[in-house]
Symmetry: D3
Subunit: 123 residues, 6 copies
Amino acid sequence: MSDKFDAGLPYLKLHLGEEGAKLAMENAPELTQFVVEHGFADFYTDETLDQKSRKIATLASLITSASLPQFEWHTRGALASDLLTTAEVVALIQQMTIYIGYPAAYNALAAAKKVFAEFPPAA
Amino acid sequence: MSDKFDAGLPYLKLHLGEEGAKLAMENAPELTQFVVEHGFADFYTDETLDQKSRKIATLASLITSASLPQFEWHTRGALASDLLTTAEVVALIQQMTIYIGYPAAYNALAAAKKVFAEFPPAA
Amino acid sequence: MSDKFDAGLPYLKLHLGEEGAKLAMENAPELTQFVVEHGFADFYTDETLDQKSRKIATLASLITSASLPQFEWHTRGALASDLLTTAEVVALIQQMTIYIGYPAAYNALAAAKKVFAEFPPAA
Amino acid sequence: MSDKFDAGLPYLKLHLGEEGAKLAMENAPELTQFVVEHGFADFYTDETLDQKSRKIATLASLITSASLPQFEWHTRGALASDLLTTAEVVALIQQMTIYIGYPAAYNALAAAKKVFAEFPPAA
Amino acid sequence: MSDKFDAGLPYLKLHLGEEGAKLAMENAPELTQFVVEHGFADFYTDETLDQKSRKIATLASLITSASLPQFEWHTRGALASDLLTTAEVVALIQQMTIYIGYPAAYNALAAAKKVFAEFPPAA
Amino acid sequence: MSDKFDAGLPYLKLHLGEEGAKLAMENAPELTQFVVEHGFADFYTDETLDQKSRKIATLASLITSASLPQFEWHTRGALASDLLTTAEVVALIQQMTIYIGYPAAYNALAAAKKVFAEFPPAA
C-alpha cells in the first residue's frame, strides 16, 4: 500500500475498531484503500478538530443520511476507543430529532442499542 | 411564554446569535416557540454533550441534509459565540466529503464563506 | 394532445391553479405532458382518496423532499381551489417537524408565507 | 409522566395502535416520551386537520423519507383505528410515484402488504 | 394490458432480467403496469440514449437514492443482458463516492457483490 | 500541486469546462485540490467506463441528490466538451422521473435550460 494508506490506517482503526477496519479491508479492499488514503489520511489526521469532535460529526452525518451500517461501525469504534460514552451517543441521537425528526432517531437508537449490548457495563 | 421557553431561549441565542434568534421569533413565532420549548429546552440544556460538541453535531447534520439557511445561522452563531473558529468549520466541511460527497461540501463552503465575511479577522 | 392528457388536465389546473398549469405547460411542455398523462390522469382521477386528501399527501411529500418550487405551486393551487385554508397548511407544516425536523419546516413555512401574501384575507 | 404526555398518549395509541405504542415505550422510553410530549401533544391534538388528514400526511412523509419501520407502524395503526382502508393506503402509495418515483413506492408497497396480511378481510 | 404495456415490457425484461420482470408483475401488478406503461414505454424506448447509457444513469440514481432492492434488480438485469460487466458496475460505484460519499458506495458494493455471485466467471 | 493533481486536472477541465475548473480552483482551492487528487485522478482516469458514460452517471447522481449548482457545471462541461448533446441531457432528465419523481426533474430541467441558452444552435 501507499504512504498515505499507512498514514490513514491508524485513524480507520481508531474510528471503526480493529475488527471493523479488518472487515472493511476484507470485504471491500479497493473502496477501503480509497477511503483510507483520502478521507482518513487527508482529514482525520488534521487535528484542527480533535478525534472526539470528528467522531461526533461523523455520527451526526450518518444518522442524518440514514447510513445505519456505517453508524453501527462508527459507534462500535467510538466505544472501543473510549472516544464517546453510550450516554453521549444517546444524547447525540436525541439532539438530532430537532434537525431530522424522530423516525431517523428511532432507527439510529435501535442500531446503537445493538452495539451497546456488546459493551457490558463494568461490574 | 412558558417556563420551558425561558429555559431554552438562552441556548437559541447562543447557537444562532442574538440576531438569528430575534429573526426566528419574528418570522416564525409559533415554530420557534416549539423548537425552543422542545429542542433547545430538552436537549441543548443537557450537558452530557458540551455546547461545542452539540454545535459540531448540528452543523454536520445540516450539511448532510443540505439545510443551507439553517447552516448559515448556526455558523454565524458559532462564530459570534466563539464556539468554533472558521478553521474548525472548514475542517468539518472537508471531513463531510467522506460521508456525503463533494457537491454538498462545496455548497456548504460557499454558504460558510458568506458568513465568514461578516467576521473580519482582528488587526 | 392525447385522451389521457385531456383526462388529467383539469386536475393539474385544480392542484396548481390556472396560472401554475399554464406556466408548467409553457416552460416544460414535454415533462408536463408526461406528468399529466401519467400522474394526473392515472392517479388524481381516482377518487379512492378525495382531492383534499391527495393535496395533503402531496404537500407532505414535497415538504419532506424539500421540493420548494413545487410546494409553492401546490400551496397556491390549494388556496385558489379552496382545497385547503392557510391554517391547514400551517398545521401540516408543524406536524411535519415530527417526521423530518425543524429546518425543512422553517423552509416550507417561508415558502408558504410568500404564497399566503397573494391571498389577502377578505375584508 | 407529565400532563403533556397524558394529553399526547391517546394520539400515539390511535396512530400506532395499542401494540405499537407499547413497543415504542418499551424499546425507546425516553425518545417516546419526547415525541409524545411534543409531537403528539402539540400537533396531533390540534383539530385544524382531522386525524385522517394527519395520518395521510404522516404516511406521505414516511414514504418520501423511506422511513419504512415507521411507515409500517403508522399503516398498522391506520387500519386498526379505521382511519384508512387498505385501498386508500395503496392509492396513496401510487400517488407518491409522481413526487418521489417508483423505487420508494415499491418499497412502501412491500412494507404495506406485510401489514395488510395481519388484517384479514371479513368473511 | 394496453399497447403501451406491450411497448414497454421488453425493456422491463431487458433491464430487470426475465425473473425480475416476472416477480415485479406478480408482487406489485398495478405498480408494475404503471411503471411499464409510463417509464419503460415512454422513456426507455427512446434511443436518444442507448440502453447501456440508460442503465448507467439508472444505477447511478439508485445508488444515490440508496434504493438498494431496485439497485440489485437493475444490476442483475445489466449482467444478464450483457449491458454492463461487473468491472463496469464496480467502476460506477467507485465514481459515485465523489458525489454521495463512501457509506452509500459501501452499501451499493455489498448489494452488487451479492448479485455478482450469481454470475460465476466462465471457466 | 501534486502528481495526482496533475493527473486529475485534465478531467476536471473536460467535465466542468475550462471556466468551471478555473472558478472551482479560485473559490474553493483546498476542496478542489482534494476532489481532483482523489475523485478525478483516481476514478475519472480509469477508462473501464468511458468519459461519456461517466458524465451520464454524474448527471444522474446530481439530479437525484438535487445538487443543482454542480448539475449546471457538469451540464455546461458536457456541452462544451461535446460529451453530450442537449437532447441527450433532456432524455436523461426525463428518464430520472421514474426513479426520483417529477419535482426533481422539473428543477433539473430548469437548470439545464439556463445552461442550454449559453450554447446557441449553429446557424
